[in-house]
Each structure stands twice: as C-alpha cells, then as structure tokens.
Amino acid sequence: MVSRRGFLKGGGLAMFGIGIGGVPTFMARAANSSKQFSPYKKKKVLVCIFQRGAMDGLMAVTPFTDTYLQAARPTLFMSAAKDSKTTPLIDLDGKFGLHPGMKSFESMFRSKQLAIVHGIGSPNNTRSHFDAQDYMESGTPFDKGTGSGWLNRAVGLMGHDATPFRAVSLTSSMPRSFYGDNPSIAINNLQDFAIQLKGNPMGANMAAKSFEDLYDQTSSGLLKETGKESFDAVKMLKKFDVRNYKPENNVVYTATALGNALKQVAQLIKMDVGLEVAFAESGGWDTHFNQGTELGVFARNANDLSGSITAFWNDMGSTYQDDVTLMTMTEFGRTVHQNGTGGTDHGRASCNFILGNDVNGGTVYNNMKPLAVENLEDGRDLPVTTDFRSVFSEVADKHLKINNDKVLFPGWNGSKIGVMRT
C-alpha cells in the first residue's frame, strides 16, 4: 500500500493542484470531521508563544510572602490574602501566587499539566527588547551573527518529510525564531492562502499557474524559494474548509489577535498537514506606565494570554492533547522596584509557562531568594537562575525528540531542570 505521505509527495498532489476547478466533495466532507484522508499522520507539535515587551514575571507569578517585594512595590504588590477588598492572588504553593487574570491556568496547574519556571532568562544581561528577543529567538545569547532561529533549527533536526506546514507562524511577518534554511510559513489568516480574483475563478487559476511559473524561474533565491513554498501550501489547504471551523467542546476563543492565532493553530493541528512547530505572539507587556494590579494593562494581557491558551487546550481535547506541548517565552523580566510612573522598567529574569501531558506540572520551578537588594542582579533585578536554553532544550528533547543541543543551542552545554517527564 502506498503511504499517504508518499502518495502526496508523488503525483497525487497534482490532483488537488491549481488549475483543476473545485475540490472533490469527498475531500471537503472529510476535512473537518475525520483524519481519514489526511496526508500526514499525527505528529508531535510544539506551540510557542512569544510575549513581546517583557512580561513582569513578578506580577504574573508573585512570591507573595516576600516582604522586600511588597516594600519595593507600594502600589503594584498584590496579596494572596482572601480578606482584602481586592481580588487576591491564586495561592499555588504557599510561596507563589498566580495573578487573578490568569485564573484559567489554575486547574491545569493543579492537574499537573502546567508547569511554571521562575527566574528564567538569558545569561546576556542586555536590557534592550530588540537584542534580548533576538538572542532568545536565535538561541545564541552572545552571538549576534547567528542567522537562523532556534525553532527553524529544531524543524531541521527533526528531519521529517517536507511539508510547507512544518513550521507555521500565525503572524503577518516571519518571526526571528523561524529565520533559517528550513521552509516555514508566516500567515495571519489561513483564508488568505489562495490566489484570488473574485468572480473569475478561471482567471484566478490562470494567474496562479502564471505566478507559479514566474516564481519558479526568478533569479532571486528568496523569491523563488518562498514562491515554491507558497504554492505547495495553497495546494494543500485547498482541501479544507478553513472558514467554517468549529472548535471542540464548545470552546469559544477570545476575539483577540492571540485567540485568533491559537484557533488557527488548532485548525492546522487537526488538519494533519504536518505541523510540528507553531508560533504566535502576545503583545503589550512593556508596562513602563500604569501597569495596574487586578485591573489595568497587565491584567488585560494576563487575561488574554491565559484565556487564549486555555481555549486552545480545551479545543485540543483528549484526541490531540497528548501530541501538543505549549510554551510561553518573554525576552526578560522587569525591575523589582516599581518606577515613578506606576510601572516597571526593563529587568532580568521573568517566568514562563509550559503546558502539556508530558510536562512535569503543578510546580513552580525556582531558586528564588528573598528579593533583598543584595540578592538582586545589579541591585535591582530578579537574577536569572535558569538559562532559557535549559528549558527550551528540555522541551524540544522530551516532546519533539530532538537531542542535539550542539546544533539547537550552539555553544551551550548546561543541564536540564526536569520540567518534562522522562
């Protein structure tokens, strides 16, 4: 029997190619409900969310018994005490409290699917957003010259058959994490995956064929490669009704950029088009000004982040949860002291969230000392006690079975922290 993958890679793909009008109805019927006709068997998928702007880890997951923190943040410190007039933090383990905006994370934490790593960050102490993101996404904190992103290298190391959907970023532009030689896709909206000429499908088909030819012969390597990926992707998505997606378990995604992105990640996972790494972004974490506590900018962001992730997880349901690990990341944390404008400035360590059935959850991994000045980096910031590469490489190793740290994180040979099950 011809494997589906072989079938597709061989001439089979042409059957769905541009130039043949319409989609075979049996394919359309199969698309949403069943995996029967899917070209790729289920794969392990890593979903990464980059929180751009540097999340205040000390507000997301607060060491609420720390009196130094309380003193350093006269108006931003939140308590876990239930008797206060304000909404309390969610007490996770007697030491750390989850921001109430992230309430939906609680049950996943309790069921040990969600782990939190506190004090995570980069050994490079740059406090520039751009640089820190660049280092984290390239995976080489002291080497600016690294052209590729760590997730692109991860895709290469898995070395599975080429499908245009191996690495998909639900952003309008390609994130740094995806830079590199392995084909990857950036798209805001899956519905845009077509050559469109409204009211004239024949014209659209002809144009698509023309474009495919032209991009195939161009002397610009960048345009040629991207062109090829584009047309492969169009052909594959043609079979699916992406417009009328119905999430499982009556899940309703939040109408935010992140919610929308994760919804489309869910769609791609269920289509079995070969997705292995997905990427989405969450913005607005650069809270220099009026950060707020249980309400305000931070709370809104926290709500969006946790709400979108929880919706995604429930949508995955029992069928897919085993295959998916989700991890958040942010370029650095924020100052222990609040600044003069009700916010916090650029700091060092933050925290991140890892969700999945392979995760050793229910724990806040940390080496946090009391936040007295002498315990702070440069006397001001939560020091980095866990190199982000320890966590990223462990997740890649255990979930995606990539164990070549020399390629994934060149120049690094630290140890892992046991955040994933063995």
């Binding site: 640089d131 309008s172 532009s173 009211g199 659209a204 023309s210 960048l222 040629k224 950029a257 404008t341």
Partner: protein, 664 residues
C-alpha cells in the same frame, strides 16, 4: 599713464569676467558631482531606472526619458532640494483639514475616546452607568455630545493622516523627500498603537521629520527628543528626578507632581481604589529609562555603539524634566499647569524652565546632580542645556556616524551594503557635521551604489510595492485608505509598527509565504480595478493601442511597467498559456458575467469617501484584518471592464504580482 592702463585693464577684466559669468550662467548647470554608472557597465537608461528605483516610490510611465533628458545628476540635485511645485498633490490634500492643525488644536478637536467619555460624564450629558447597561443609548448620547461640542473621533484624524501618506507617496514630485520622510520616521519610530502618543503623530511627521530630512542629523535628533509624540511614546515625558536646588524646593509639593495621564473611565469602587493607588504612585518620583536607552541603541550609537547600562541610567537622569507643555482645554497636563501658575508663565525662564512650542523643560522635575555619560561629565545644575549637550554629543559620536550611514545604505543600496561604502558615507557624515544631503551624495556617487550586484537587489516593502504599482499604472486613487489596507494585508501596517525599532529593512522580513500570496493577489486586484476607489486606464498607457493578443499585451505592458529589464524569460514562460484561446475566452466570459456597472462612491468629499472601510477599521490597534471587510464590500464598486480588457488586466495583474516587480 600707468594709472590709466591699470584702469583700462581693470575694465577689461571686469567686462571679461562679466561676459564669462553670463556665459556660464545661462547654458550650463552647475553640478559638483557625477554618477560613475558607466564604469559599472550600465547604460544611461539603466542608470536612470536604478536611480528611480532607489530614490522614488517607482517610476511613472515615461519618467526614465524625463530623467535622461534632464541629466541624471541634475534630477538628483533637484530631488535633494525637495522644492518642486506640487500643485496637483496639494489640490488632492486640500480637503484634509485636520492635517493643518497644531497639536493643541488636535488635542481639542480629537480627544481620546476615554477623554470624551469623561468630559461627557462630567458635563452630565452621559449617564456613566449606561456605559454598562445600554450600549445603544450610550453611544447616541455620546455622539450627540460630540456634535454639540465640535469633537471629532480620532479615527478620522488617523484616516486623514494615513490618506495623506498614500497620496504623497504616490503623487509628490519631491519623491526623495517622501522616501526620506518614510526612512527617518521609521528610524525615529513612533506608533499609533500607543494610544497616548497617537494624536501627536501627524504633527510629528509634518513638523519634526519632513522639514529636516535633508538637514543635519542633529536637528532631527533634537526635534524628535522634544516632540510630544516621542516624549509620550518612549515615556520620557513622565521621567523625573530630584532637584535639590533651594528655590525650587519651596515648591516641594509641585516638584513631586508629574503630568497626569488620563485614567480610563472609573465605574466601580475597585477601579477607584486603583486610581488612588496610581495617583499615589505618581507622587513618588520616577526615573524612566526607556527613551534614554532607545536614543542610544536605536537613534544614535547602535546597540554595539559602546554604552553600558550605567550610561543609560545616567543619560535618563540628564533628560529628566523633558516633558510636554500643557495643551488643550481637555485636561492634558493639569498638574504641570499648576506648576506653571505657581511660578508664573512669564517667569518660567527665570527659574530655568524652557518653553518652546509644545516642549517644556520642567526644571522642578530635573535631577540637578552631577552625571557622567560615556565618560563625559555633566556638572551639577546643568539644567536644560545638559540634555542638549548630551544629544549633540550622541549625534556627533563616531558610532553614530557608522550606525546611521549603514542604515541609510541598507535602505537605499542593498540589504548588506559593502563596508567600503559605509566608511565613505561615515567619513562624510563626520566631516560635514551630520549633513544628510552630503551623505546621500557620497552614497550615490560611490561606485558601490552602481555595482551590478546591487541593481534590483532590494525587495520592495509592501507599501512600496503598492505605491509603485499605482505609479507604474497611473492609477487615480480616490480612496487612499484602501491602499493602506492592502499594504497591511501584505505585512506592513503603516504607522502601526509597535516597536521603537521601526520596520526591519530586509527582504527576508517582507517575503514569506503568506505575504507573497497577498502580493500576487494585490497585483490581480489593482490591475482589474477591484480595489475600491481606484481608477485606471490601461489602454491609455499604451496610447490607446489595444494589444492584438495576450502575448502582445505581455510584451508591451511588461516593458511599460518594468522598463530597462530583461523580460525574455518571463515572456517565454507565459506565452504558451496566454496563447490558449479557450482560456482567454473563458476568462473574458467570466469577467463579463461578474462585473457590475460602476457605482461611484466618490462624491461626498475627500475625507469620508470610503464609508465602508471607515466603519470597519477603528483606526487604533485592532489587528487581525478587521479592515479587510472593506475590501470585500468594495467589490460592489467594480468598474465595467470591457470584454477584451479583462485579459489585458489579467496580464497586467500578473506582471505586478511577478517576482520581477517585487524587486527594485
């Protein structure tokens, strides 16, 4: 006698020089540079095409001939002056009233949504509880209130601003000025996504960026540092330190005040609590490092320019007190107003305050102790001048020369410009006191600029692609906003880039699978007039000669749209398909069946002439292609495309979406 001879000689010399002068004045153009394109093996026409590719938003039909006839150097010199008449553009812009307003007038006429609500509640015109309960009633109340008080929605301001961007890029004769305005805006990026600074962005571009794009770098740096848009975008407006000066200490209370940022609508006690907390926080003094860091990392030295965290903190202290003068009737800067009242407006400078336009140096909030930045000592009590000195020092730092020149070369030459070119430019930058015009001349007269390797090596950004298509096809844009919406769809939402880095300037950033498909779709859409509010006449581009066949159309229009390029391979690839008569017939039939007669929506003035997309896009921060609905509705306004022409527009659409047209 001798005297006489001398006199005659003088006279002779005088008249001779007069003669010579007049001789030279009339026929020749004084040009002090020349382009070495011949050495690089380019013809004059190829060189003109390259110039237009790099220093304009794309050549218009026949423009290569114009440049060749005028002389390439003269054309460039003219562009460097940026003083060509722009009557037809000005005519198009004349209806945009908001673009003429000052920041203060804008603050009064276009308050932020939260501000309007607060005012309405305060005036008893809106019941604040209805915000929660009855959305419709509340909206009506609010609208009525806005009308009564001549308040206008901010989206309208942004829409006018965005429209002018599109129109200027497409139609200005001073193309280089527009390219540079775009470049420097992006270099000193501010973003509409940050609501606090958004309303001041039109003024920022108009008065701070555009007038300075050919001048000294230092002026741009100082101008941006003092502008409300930048002060708010990078938070410096709120950064304050302790002033130990005795005369100011009497105003201890006032010293502690920092400008009030308007709070959102407070509806319940938790929020009131919150507000109180925040107000307390404000009373504490606060250093904010955001601007100090970015001014070194992004605006001047570059991240490897040799500064430390210590320098950032010290620079932030130097810049404490740099803030915004209170403006508008709607409560902006109430706290500062009190400070000013206390000291007396006319006595401000006596106390060391500096008030220039919208800028205020509030000495009461300035850290007056000694500082050291990059090894330079700033003695105590330096006041406003130490900030100026700091910025001038940064503007003239050797790292800045390299960093800025590389960035200019990346924009105008190639994604990886040769170091030899950057060095030449940096030398000019240093020797000519940061004179941008001189740096551009050095760049354009360097052999590296004309090297065959860099010809067409740059990838157009989405906005550049859209505008270059408009220019190449002589499109008449009635609804500029639709061009913005398409650029967004292709990956570049103008004025909404959130990070202070501005849009990256690399082909790799723009070209990815999704964006590329949208570029192709854009080509098809614009050529077939399926973008609302665009008008074009493809036949007139070819003197109304209708091509005899699809292949002929490809040949003719390929040359018109992409002059001076080798299109042999393109033609060879497409010809077999274009010659299929069945296909051509089917396409024309389908087009005829689906095109509706043109219904004009362009009759109610310049500003609001695209009501569909106006409703669809709230102008601020809403991502996710919300505005794209406008495109779909826009299809109702399709113009009739006569039978044969649908094949022509199809061919032109393919040319616009082709890989060659993505390059410049």
């Amino acid at each position: 006698m001798q005297n006489r001879i001398r006199q005659v000689a003088k006279l002779l010399i005088f008249s001779a020089s007069f003669f010579l002068l007049s001789f030279f004045q009339i026929p020749t153009y004084k040009q002090h540079f020349s382009f070495p394109y011949k050495k690089a093996g380019l013809t004059e026409r190829e060189a003109a095409a390259h110039l237009l590719n790099r220093f304009t938003y794309g050549a218009t039909p026949g423009q290569i001939d114009e440049v060749v006839n005028m002389g390439l150097e003269k054309w460039f010199e003219q562009q460097l002056n940026g003083t060509l008449a722009d009557d037809s553009l000005n005519q198009k812009l004349s209806g945009y009233d908001a673009l003429k307003l000052s920041n203060e007038q804008i603050a009064n006429a276009f308050p932020k949504p939260g501000q309007i609500l607060r005012m309405a509640v305060k005036d008893g015109k809106v019941d604040k509880d209805s915000v929660k309960t009855d959305k419709k009633e509340y909206r009506e109340q609010l609208q009525a209130y806005m009308q009564q008080n001549n308040l206008r929605p901010q989206q309208e301001l942004f829409r006018q601003f965005i429209n002018q961007k599109v129109l200027r890029a497409a139609y200005s004769n001073n193309q280089l000025q527009e390219m540079l305005t775009d470049f420097w805006f992006n270099h000193f990026n501010v973003s509409i996504t940050k609501n606090d600074c958004a309303q001041f962005i039109p003024d920022y571009e108009r008065d701070v960026i555009r007038p300075n794009v050919f001048g000294k770098f230092e002026n741009l740096l100082l101008g941006t540092a003092k502008s409300p848009a930048m002060l708010l975008y990078l938070d410096n407006f709120s950064s304050s330190g302790e002033n130990t000066n005795a005369s100011l200490q009497q105003n201890q209370k006032l010293r502690q005040m920092i400008p009030q940022k308007q709070e959102g609508m407070m509806t319940d006690s938790a929020q009131k609590n919150q507000l109180k907390k925040l107000q307390n926080a404000k009373k504490a003094q606060g250093l904010n490092e955001n601007y100090a860091r970015e001014v070194m990392e992004l605006h001047t030295l570059g991240v490897d320019g040799g500064y430390t965290q210590q320098d950032v903190t010290q620079a932030a202290r130097v810049l404490t007190g740099w803030t915004i003068y209170p403006m508008g009737d709607n409560g902006w800067g109430n706290a500062i107003k009190k400070v000013i009242e206390k000291f007396g407006e006319d006595k401000l400078s006596e106390h060391g305050f500096v008030h220039e336009g919208d800028f205020l140096f509030a000495i009461n909030r300035h850290d007056n102790k000694e500082k050291t930045v990059l090894g330079k000592n700033f003695a105590a009590n330096g006041g406003y001048e130490e900030g100026v000195q700091l910025l001038k020092m940064l503007a003239h730092h050797p790292s800045t020369a390299k960093f800025i020149c590389k960035k200019i070369a990346v924009r105008f030459v190639s994604d990886n410009p040769p170091q030899s070119l950057i060095d030449k430019m940096a030398k000019t930058f240093t020797e000519k006191d940061g004179d941008i015009k001189e740096v551009l001349i050095t760049m354009a007269t360097a052999p590296e600029f004309w090297n065959k390797e860099v010809i067409r090596a740059k990838t157009k950004s989405p906005f550049e692609l859209a505008i270059s298509a408009v220019r190449a096809l002589n499109v008449d844009i009635k609804q500029p906003y639709q061009i913005f919406v398409w650029a967004d769809k292709m990956g570049q939402k103008m004025y909404f880039y959130q990070a202070p880095t501005g849009f990256p300037d690399k082909g790799q950033y723009w070209i990815n699978t999704g964006a590329l498909l949208n570029r192709m779709n854009f080509g098809l859409a614009i050529a077939s007039q399926r973008i609302a509010g665009t008008k074009l006449d493809l036949l007139s581009l070819n003197n109304r000669h209708e091509p005899e066949s699809a292949t002929a159309a490809l040949l003719t229009y390929g040359k018109l749209i992409m002059p001076e390029r080798n299109l042999d391979e393109t033609v060879k690839r497409l010809t077999p398909m274009l010659n299929d008569p069945e296909l051509v017939k089917k396409i024309n039939d389908a087009a005829d069946k689906n095109t509706a007669p043109q219904t004009s929506m362009v009759n109610n003035g310049v500003v609001m002439n695209d009501p569909d997309s106006y409703r669809d896009d709230d102008g601020v921060g809403n991502k996710g292609g919300k505005g794209l609905k406008g495109l779909k509705k826009g299809n109702n306004t399709l113009q009739t495309v006569a039978g044969n022409n649908s094949m022509l527009s199809q061919v032109v659409g393919i040319i616009i979406g082709s890989p060659e047209f993505q390059r410049k």
